[in-house]
Amino acid sequence: MKFSDLLRMSINNLRRRKLRTGLTVLGVVIGTASIVVMVSLGIGLKEITVEQYESSGSLTKIQVYRNYGMGGSENEEDGFITDKTIESFKAIPHVKAVSPVLSTYVQMRQGAYEGSSRIEGLSREALEEIELGEGRLPDPSSGTMELVVGPMVAQNFWEAKTGRGFWETGEQPAVDLYGKPFFTMFQSSGAEESGKQKKYVFPVSGLVKSDTDENGNPMYNEYSYGIYTDVEILKTQLKRIYKKNPIPGQPVNKKGKPYNYYVYDNAYVYVDDMNNVMEVQAAVTDMGYEAHSSMQWLEQAQEQMDMIQAVLGGIGAVSLFVAAIGIANTMMMSIYERTREIGVLKVLGCALGDIRSMFLIEAGFIGLMGGAAGLLLSYGVSSLINKFLGSGLMGMGGGGGDISRIPMWLSAAAVGFAIVIGMLAGLFPALRAMKLSPLAAIRNE
């Protein structure tokens, strides 16, 4: 028999018993919807967790520090993060880029406000990780040190006269680092005359991008409080300022002299994929450094989330299982009712396989209709949950995002799963129908 003929016969049979078909489909609708909604909550929780971790730092970034616990035993220089170390990190598989972090503390002044902050020198690759809201990255060929500032740096300013800043008053200081120039003073090396510190004005080439909350205030991300520039330019600048004098923050040897190379505070290792972060982190640790990544916490959190998701999915699966029993029951009843008709089909020469397929298609079709309608229902329920429960449930204020998320694969899987469940439930009845005796058709009542 042609598939189109089988399909037509099956659908006609379903239409003949509209109410019963409808009720059975309703069971599948509820089953599918409960699975989809439950899993969507699981996915939502998981993704929100990932997003939270992402906002506190890129998930593919590993921060590497000097291991002070182990250092100093034989040769202090062993623990330093230097250009050599950076190169050795680059040799680890899956490492996309490595950036040294060279930071220096500065005092800043704009109008009536002054503040303190840190300028971090990063490699070009690391700078490119920063999403800019306005402007551009520092030009490496530029003679002056161009800066990228975070939108929240201004919060570290206080009024010079009163000494009261954002953290005391809760008001944003009237400081605009991106729009207006400001003075920068470097830490004293102790060599120059006191009180005669040089003031510099560096051009600001870019502003770190940040989302704003409903009051228009910038929202935190990992670059919000930083001032960044190219590490090579920073090195040049520092050399220009301190000349032969030791640079504050740089270690000195036993004789009190600085080393003839830069020692970085820490380094960022960028990994090509989230899944490889733990592997690279282990390699870095093995080399004798301390390493931290968001991934390491996320992984634990994800294990928990997986469990929550499995439990939620299991709860949903129970109702789909009940629906499957409903399908099997409906199909069995329909077969008993149609014993004679099935007998006629067999007498007329309908192949056994075709009879089985006919009933499987019928059951599968119940699954399909239930699955599709259930999916629509779950979209509705999901949007209701997001509207009324979403942020409240997570206790995250405004920036939570949707707690129930139905990705494409879940939609497709839900409908596919419903069809498969339907057909599985219909398998036994279909085999039963196939084995019915054709003699039932001959019997005359």
Partner: protein, 279 residues
Amino acid sequence: MRVEAEKKREVVIRVRDLYKVYRMGDTKVYALNGVDLDIRRGEFCAITGPSGSGKSTLLNMLAGLEHPSKGEIVIAGKHIEKLNEKQLVTFRRERVGFIFQSYNLIATMDAVENVALPLSFRGMGKAKRAKRAKEYLKLVGLERFMTHMPNQMSGGQQQRVGIARALAVDPQIIFADEPTGNLDSKTTMEVLKLMQTIVRERNQTLVMVTHDNNLATYADRIIKIIDGKIVSIEENHKEADLEAAREEGAQKNKDCKEAAREETPQKKMTEEKESGENL
């Protein structure tokens, strides 16, 4: 005394030494107790007998619906007692047409779809089988009922659809199980006449089971079964007659044989069989 031409016609169904034994607890019931039978191409053959005589069992076995306990059935050169169920279905699909007592039309399909149904089992395309179904519906005189559903048709009309369905597959043999059992006497005659005409015109082989000896007289040959054994085979030629049927309807007590026109001479040949002869 048989007509020579008929003698030469090939045997379509050959039954040898056929037994069907049912077990009822400890006792064995012989539904068929040693049956030998030949049916030739183009023959209209009636199997009669009282209820419980085994006539339906014989038909079921000829149509490949039941397995015999012993013996052989050869249809068009094929031993069907050796076929498994799957092969039997294929056999029925390719070679057998079936007319039921209670018509057994599919309630959700109209006349054309019902006639086309067995063709769809063969994988024939929709347009092609609908065309063929319409041809056969015309043949049975239902031009105006093509799109009627079974419940919109009378019993006689439904049975005509049933006949068209059996014919449409162009079978080698048509089996009819009490085809007029649910019809009134007038319609019975119409349907019987229709079957007789079509079978003659198209040289179809038709095996009909009936408990009504009167109906059986319209067949070319009457095989009488009692207690699972063939007790007599009669050669017979009688035209089903609508006029006769109408008269019969009017005068119920009048004997059908007398009412029938005398234009066809009746040939009768009775072979009495000893019950133990074929065991």
